[in-house]
Subunit: 214 residues, 2 copies
C-alpha cells in the first residue's frame, strides 16, 4: 500500500545519492562515526536539514556521539534500492552510450548492465566494456528473455519516444533519458530526464555572481 | 558588492535551468503567456513555489493574466548569464568528452567551445565537431592567448585535481567536473560536480517505491 502521508519530497530523494556517495568516501577513509554537524559541514547542508531528511526514514538513530557510518551507508543504500541488483540496458551506442557503458561507478552502485543496442550496422557486433552491441531490432526478443529494470536512452531526440515506448511495453520500469527531451509516463514508470546543459547553466550563473561580487 | 541578504538558495538556482528550458519549449510552440498555475502544473512545482522563486529576482511582474513567456525566458537567460557568451574548453577527449563536444545544446544555450585537449597521441590532431584536439601540454599557452571561462573536465579521476589546478591558475572561473570526485575551490572558482550515477540511484529509489506501492 502506498501511504501518501509518508511521501518523501523529491528534493529529499535527490539528496539521498549525495549522502550515499559521501558516506562511501568516509568508509574508504575508515571513519566509523560522524555527527550531523560534521556531516553538515562537509555536505554544505544544515545539520537540521540532515536530521529532517533522515527523519523521513526513521532517523537512523543518531545517539549523542553521531551516526554509525557503515550502518547509515547500508541503510541509505537499501532505501535507494541499490541492493536489489537492478539490471540495465543502454539503447544508443554513440559516444555518450559508450561512455556510460564504461562508467564503472554504475556497477559499483549495484547496477548490472546486461545489454547494449544500436541500429548502426557498423557498431552492431562490436564490443563495449566486454558487452557485444546488439541490433535494436532484437530489443523485444531480448527483453522477453531477460528481466530489465532500467533502460538508459542515449538515442537521438527523434527516436527517444518510440524507443521508450518499446521498452515500457516490454515491462521496463525505469528510464534514464539523455535525449534533451522531457519524457513522461504514468507514475508506474519512473523517469529521470538528464539534461547535461543544466549544470553548465548553473555554473554560468555562479560565475556571473562571483564577478558581480568582486 | 555582494549583498548576502539577497543570496539565492542553491535549490532555487538549480531550478532556473529547468524554468529556462521549459519556457524555451513554450516559445517554440508559439505560446505567448502562461499563468503561474499552468507553469506549475507542467513543471510539477507548486504555483506558490514558482512565485517565491521568481521573487528572488524581482518577481518578473506577473499581471492577472500571467507571465509574458518571451520576456521571462529572456530575463532568466540574463540571470543565468547565458547572454555573456561564456567560452569553454574540454579536457579529456574520451567518449564522454567527445559526446559533450558534440552536444549541440551547449551551443544553443550560448556557450562557445573553443578548445579540446587530450594527452593521447592517437587522439591529438583528430577533429571532433570541427575542432582539432590539441595536446594537453599546450593548455597553458592556449589559456594565455584565449579567455576561457569554463573548463569541462572529462579526464580520468587520477588526473582531475592537477588538471583543475592548471586551469584555475590560468584564470578559468568555472569547472564542470565529470570525474566522479568532489572538486572544491575557493568561492571565486565555481564548480559543478556532475555525478552521472546520481539520477540512476534516484531512479532505483522510485522503482522500488512503485513496486512497494503496487
Amino acid at each position: 500500500m502506498n501511504d501518501k502521508s509518508k511521501k518523501v519530497p523529491e528534493v529529499v530523494v535527490k539528496r539521498l545519492p549525495r549522502y550515499y556517495r559521501y558516506l562511501g568516501e568516509l568508509l574508504k577513509q575508515d571513519i566509523k562515526r560522524i555527527s550531523s554537524n560534521a556531516l553538515s559541514e562537509k555536505m554544505n547542508v544544515t545539520a537540521s536539514q540532515i536530521r529532517q531528511d533522515f527523519n523521513y526514514f526513521g532517523g537512523f538513530g543518531q545517539q549523542g556521539y553521531g551516526y554509525n557510518v557503515e550502518h547509515l551507508y547500508s541503510e541509505i543504500g537499501e532505501i535507494l534500492g541499490l541492493h536489489d541488483g537492478d539490471t540495465t540496458v543502454i539503447v544508443g551506442a554513440g559516444n555518450l552510450g559508450r561512455a556510460l557503458a564504461s562508467h564503472d561507478t554504475f556497477e559499483k552502485r549495484g547496477f548490472k548492465l546486461i545489454g547494449i543496442f544500436d541500429n548502426d550496422e557498423n557498431i552492431i557486433g562490436t564490443s563495449i566494456n566486454g558487452i557485444k552491441v546488439m541490433s535494436s531490432d532484437t530489443l523485444e526478443g531480448f527483453l522477453e528473455k531477460n528481466r530489465v529494470d532500467i533502460g538508459i536512452l542515449t538515442v537521438p531526440k527523434a527516436a527517444v519516444m518510440e524507443t521508450a515506448e518499446r521498452l515500457v511495453k516490454c515491462g521496463v520500469k525505469g528510464l534514464m533519458n539523455f535525449s534533451y527531451t522531457e519524457l513522461n509516463f504514468d507514475k508506474d514508470v519512473a523517469v529521470e530526464n538528464v539534461h547535461l546543459s543544466d549544470p553548465l547553466m548553473t555554473l554560468s550563473y555562479k560565475i556571473k555572481q562571483n564577478k558581480n561580487g568582486e
